[in-house]
């Protein structure tokens, strides 16, 4: 007859089935969450470490090695740039901020206003900021003034031919400038030391991190950019830098950084609010010891000379 539903096509209580299934799912999720968090009930201290992208690899290496030295301490590392780390320190959301530049006076003032404590600086190593070009680029050395002319806002150099350089197999003459975003400590260091605080020329490709800069240069014959010495790959080469045109040019290396002949040598530091205490102090002391410095050296940076280390 018309209107008779075919038996078996409708479950008896669809609403109840759905409600029961949803309740079971919710319970399962809660059980999983509760089980995970309620694992080992030991007292793990967590140290939050945020900041420089230049230092993020070595910070991660320190965190992993320190887990073996002090298993009760968990160090959580994230990048974002020196500016991001310092901003987080000013808000009081991290214990340690890593920075490849120094804190500015207004940032120190803001820290005192927001948190009532003065930031404490610890230098943990040195780095040479290298200027990279593609392997096929014949240029070997450059001066700070020429760099300012290429990268700076009032600079007139836009083509490789203006420097007397011809790159074999390149599709154009325009210099492709590769830079960092403004949250980067590397960006600020370069601006301070190469351009005397004048601004960058607009139109540079502003990359997210140190590795991306080198990758882009490695794939672009007409590119020039700057990044940490430890990020070199076989596709790029580092230029020798002269402080002034006509002065001797030095390559970035461990000894040239320590004896300050390389013009773009910089210090790598950690910032804490006030003097470090407890677990944070133990971690920083370990970083300054031979064990921590060995990891820094293996990552491609310049370790502290022995008189500055912790014994």
């Amino acid at each position: 007859m018309m209107g008779q539903p075919v038996s078996g096509t409708r479950p008896d209580h669809p609403t109840r089935t759905i409600a029961a299934a949803a309740l079971l799912a919710a319970l399962a999720v809660l059980a999983a969450c509760g089980g995970g968090a309620g694992g080992p009930q030991s007292q793990t201290t967590t140290i939050q470490n945020k900041g420089s992208d230049t230092m993020v690899n070595v910070a991660q290496a320190w965190a992993e090695e320190y887990k073996r030295v002090a298993p009760a301490v968990d160090v959580e590392v994230s990048g974002g740039g020196s500016g991001v780390g310092i901003a987080a320190l000013l808000r009081g959301t991290v214990d340690i901020a890593t920075a490849s530049r120094n804190m500015k006076a207004e940032e120190i003032e803001q820290a005192k206003r927001n948190t009532g404590r003065t930031p404490h600086e610890v230098i943990v190593g040195y780095d040479a900021l290298a200027v990279y070009v593609h392997q096929s680029n014949p240029i070997e050395s450059i001066s700070i003034e020429q760099l300012a002319d290429i990268f700076g806002e009032r600079g007139a150099t836009v083509n490789w031919s203006q420097l007397g350089v011809r790159i074999p197999g390149a599709s154009g003459d325009t210099i492709v400038r590769v830079s960092r975003q403004s949250s980067s400590g590397t960006y600020e260091f370069f601006r301070d030391h190469v351009m005397g605080n004048l601004d960058f020329k607009l139109g540079s490709r502003d990359m997210n991190g140190s590795k991306e800069v080198v990758e882009l240069i490695g794939g672009t014959p007409t590119a020039i950019g700057y990044s940490g010495m430890g990020y070199a790959t076989p596709a790029v080469k580092m230029l020798r830098i002269a402080a002034r045109t006509g002065d001797p040019a030095f390559p970035p290396s461990v000894e040239n950084t320590l004896n300050k002949t390389y013009p773009l040598a910089r210090s790598l530091q950690l910032y804490t609010l006030g003097e470090p205490q407890g677990a944070v102090k133990a971690y920083i002391d370990w970083i300054l010891s031979d064990a921590g410095q060995k990891i820094l050296e293996e990552s491609g940076y310049v370790p502290l000379p022995s008189e500055q280390r912790n014994k």
């Binding site: 740039g81 403004s182 540079s204």
Partner: protein
């Protein structure tokens, strides 16, 4: 004879409804009403929040709205000369969105027409599933594809110095917008009454004439809505353009130039701007600018639809 008015029989009393069912029904109506209104409430709340964060800098003496809107120089963290000019960023957003729409609309609308008129049911089902899959790919994965795969292809085939540029961002955004345009466009075409199609076929129209002269005009509103949603996705996309456009602050002179969009700029810089600082407030003002641009696009499309409707 008694007057044959319907008052001869008294209307049977309405069956009494329990108080619970009456109030229950009103409660549910209120809930549904609140859900509908909530969209407006959320939009107003978002606008209020971003305006509140951006307001202090609007009234400050050092800030000039003309410079903000019409200057190409963006130097928020300068040590010597702080300048907030978003013209190059707006040009970047415009360039990437326009290129994306030029690529996406023909493919999207064409796909919608094909799905609704020219393909068999089995092919239609499989194609729909594949297109939904395209829509489900996270935007950061698209950005990664743009940064690695697409940039290499662009460098090889166009001889550009760098593969991350307007062309790269435009292609990726087009790939992200096409599924939306196809889905909604196909729904719009399906909603055209069968009687139109039957009438056209009865008058001897070929399939192409049917599509071009009957279906597309009839479904105009829905198709415009589909394109608008695609545009909205392209303007608001952040992660993919952050990775695929080269992040350079400049007005592009060709599709092989790198640009920076308003959205990528906010994403890259908000983390380092100390909360409450001038830089932070200007970034929120950029958010207000984005909001305004999207509203203007929607308003313009609404007026076009009204104009079309009035002329009909």
């Amino acid at each position: 004879m008694a007057p044959n008015s319907s008052t001869g029989a008294v209307a049977p009393p309405r069956p009494a409804r329990s108080r619970r069912s009456v109030w229950g029904e009103r409660g549910i109506e209120l809930l549904i009403y609140a859900s509908g209104v909530s969209a407006i409430v959320f939009i107003l709340a978002i606008l209020f929040f971003i305006l509140r964060e951006a307001a202090p800098v609007l009234f400050s003496d050092r800030f000039s709205l003309t410079q903000f809107l019409f200057s190409t120089e963006w130097y928020p963290t300068s040590a010597s000369n702080v300048r907030y000019g978003t013209l190059a960023l707006s040009a970047g957003t415009l360039a990437v969105t326009v290129l994306a729409m030029v690529l996406a609309v023909p493919f999207g609308l064409g796909g919608a027409v094909f799905l609704s008129q020219f393909c068999g049911p089995r092919l239609r089902e499989s194609l729909k599933i594949i297109i939904e899959l395209l829509a489900a790919i996270p935007s950061v994965v698209w950005g990664f594809i743009g940064l690695t795969v697409m940039s290499r292809l662009i460098v090889t085939y166009t001889g550009a110095p760098v593969g991350v540029n307007v062309l790269n961002g435009g292609i990726i955004l087009a790939l992200m917008s096409v599924p939306i345009i196809v889905s909604i466009g196909e729904d719009a075409l399906k909603a055209v009454p069968d009687s139109y199609i039957e009438a056209a076929t009865a008058m001897g129209a070929t399939r192409w004439q049917l599509v071009f002269r009957v279906l597309l005009p009839a479904a105009r509103n829905g198709l415009l809505a589909a394109v608008l949603l695609g545009v909205g996705r392209a303007i608001g996309e952040t992660m993919a353009v952050l990775m695929a456009t080269g992040h350079a602050v400049q007005i592009p002179h060709g599709i092989l130039d790198s640009v920076r969009t308003l959205t990528a700029n906010i994403a890259a810089e908000l983390g380092e701007a100390p909360a409450g600082s001038e830089h932070y407030q200007v970034l929120f003002l950029t958010g207000v600018l984005l909001f305004t641009i999207t509203m203007l696009v929607n308003l313009a499309a609404d007026l076009i639809i009204r104009g079309v409707r009035a002329r009909k």
